[in-house]
């Protein structure tokens, strides 16, 4: 089985959106989360979807799923205080039904700009190498600073990548590190960070372009502009 675990637990404190968490903000009448879900809904290798959602919005989400014809959602789980906790909640729920060698694609609800090919490539890489972390080449220099004031290192640009999503694993591997982190009281920024923390080797999949995470108002405008550009391309073939 191949399951998509979609994180939609964020509150959107950075979005200036007092009424709506960012994953529910609408673009041309459709919530961002639905744009994201559609990629997994329409992908033939995805068997089901688990969504980790803000508790107060679960009922509303059910209505949206119905209205927009998203049928693969197997369960909606309440989110935790951090992204780490939300993934953990999702994995605990999956434990009831997942086999150790099921493939889990962990994805952000606010990353709607992915493609079917990226999902395929994630699944293929997990089968081939054991896991898959979507990355993008960096176009600007990366800088390390330990004191937040002065540059301490500028690592070679051709070795640096930005971690995106999906991040995909065998169920047994990802649940094992999250169980361990739970025991150790360790919280990671994302699954790649956690796996690296526990010394696991990670394999890269090159992201499609513009795989942005919509967390700030400007991201919303960018996403809308990119949607429009993509729609216009159908006609103009730019």
């Amino acid at each position: 089985m191949t399951t998509a675990l979609i994180l939609a637990g964020g509150t959107g404190t950075r979005m200036n959106s007092r009424v709506k968490p960012k994953q529910f903000i609408e673009i041309h009448g459709k919530p961002i989360l639905i744009y994201t879900l559609e990629h997994f809904e329409y992908h033939e290798e995805i068997d089901d979807i688990v969504i980790v959602c803000l508790e107060d919005w679960i009922e509303k989400l059910k209505i949206y799923l119905h209205r927009f014809g998203i049928t693969k959602v197997y369960e909606i789980v309440p989110g935790g205080p951090t992204g780490h906790d939300s993934i953990y909640n999702g994995l605990v729920t999956l434990k009831k039904k997942a086999n150790p060698d099921d493939i889990i694609l962990i994805h952000d609800g606010v990353r709607p700009l992915i493609t079917g090919e990226l999902i395929t490539e994630n699944i293929r890489t997990v089968r081939k190498s054991g896991n898959a972390v979507t990355v993008e080449v960096i176009r600007e220099s990366v800088i390390k600073s330990t004191d937040g004031k002065f540059v301490s290192d500028v690592p070679a640009l051709n070795q640096m990548f930005v971690a995106k999503a999906p991040q995909s694993f065998y169920f047994k591997d990802i649940s094992e590190v999250f169980e361990q982190a739970e025991k150790d009281g360790f919280k990671a920024i994302d699954s790649a960070h956690l796996m690296n923390h526990y010394g696991k080797t990670l394999h890269m999949v090159k992201s499609t372009k513009n795989n942005i995470k919509i967390t700030e108002p400007a991201d919303y405008y960018m996403f809308r502009a990119l949607c429009q550009a993509a729609e216009n391309q159908q006609i103009f073939g730019i």
Binding site: I138, V142, V151, P155, H197, L202, M204, A218, A225
Partner: protein, 238 residues
């Protein structure tokens, strides 16, 4: 004196059917390079602007600076093979005018989304520390891979930044660094990387948000969307 050295030498694989170099692409009838130049033109502490430009487009740039009332441009210098060479060309051309402790803000012609405050912060930091790099805290995990296949390291995101522009220096310091690199036949992605090679301490200036570099077609759409959103803010005060 405070100089701004604008790099507009990118041959660009031009964008769109017109194959215009990206710095000359127009947004609402005004080229991207002019949006960028206006920030320095209108800043009271910037005395002169030197532009490193594609040789074939120098005349066009002269016409544009005239038409859009950009008066501080004192020199337009032909670009070199790479960004590195272009910056060095610019620094060499400034040699007769610039004093050792003059300040040079090195900026990309295709980064129009900066602010007056960012320019001020750069000037102050360069005066105080000799070298100042505009950075943005990493919003997504940065990962390192030496073989382009496996991830070998996921550093703590709190220590990671992305280098932006302006990158600002005292003239003597940066000219000597580029001169040394020329002798040793070293080329770097940006001045931050160059300073890092020669162990020059660099102070970090926090970038304004959305300090994007317009280098692929999508960036153009993003710039236009952000620009529109900012104009709308004047009215709605979002």
């Amino acid at each position: 004196m405070v100089f701004t050295l604008i790099f507009a030498g990118g041959t660009g694989y031009g964008i769109g059917p017109s194959l215009k170099p990206k710095q000359f692409l127009e947004v609402y009838g005004k080229p991207v390079i002019i949006y960028t130049l206006e920030h320095f033109e209108n800043h009271k502490d910037v005395d002169e602007i030197v532009v490193v430009c594609l040789e074939s487009h120098i005349n066009e740039l002269k016409r544009l600076t005239d038409r859009f009332g950009i008066t501080k441009v004192s020199m337009i210098v032909p670009g070199g093979k790479t960004g590195h060479d272009s910056i060095y060309n610019g620094l060499k051309a400034m040699k007769e005018k610039a004093q050792d402790d003059d300040i040079v803000l090195i900026h990309d012609g295709v980064r129009p989304l900066i602010t007056e405050k960012l320019v001020t912060d750069n000037i102050e930091a360069a005066k105080k520390y000799g070298a100042a790099i505009t950075v943005e805290p990493a919003r997504e995990s940065v990962v390192q891979s030496k073989d382009q296949i496996n991830i070998c390291y996921v550093p703590n995101r709190n220590n990671m930044y992305i280098a932006k522009a302006p990158q600002s220096f005292s003239y003597k310091l940066i000219y000597e660094a580029y001169e040394k690199a020329a002798k040793e036949q070293k080329r770097t992605v940006d001045s931050a990387q160059l300073c890092s090679i020669y162990n020059i301490p660099m102070y970090m200036v926090e970038s304004t948000k959305n300090n994007i570099k317009i280098s692929v077609p999508e960036d153009y759409y993003m710039f236009r969307a952000l620009y529109e959103a900012m104009e709308n803010q004047q009215i709605f005060g979002i």
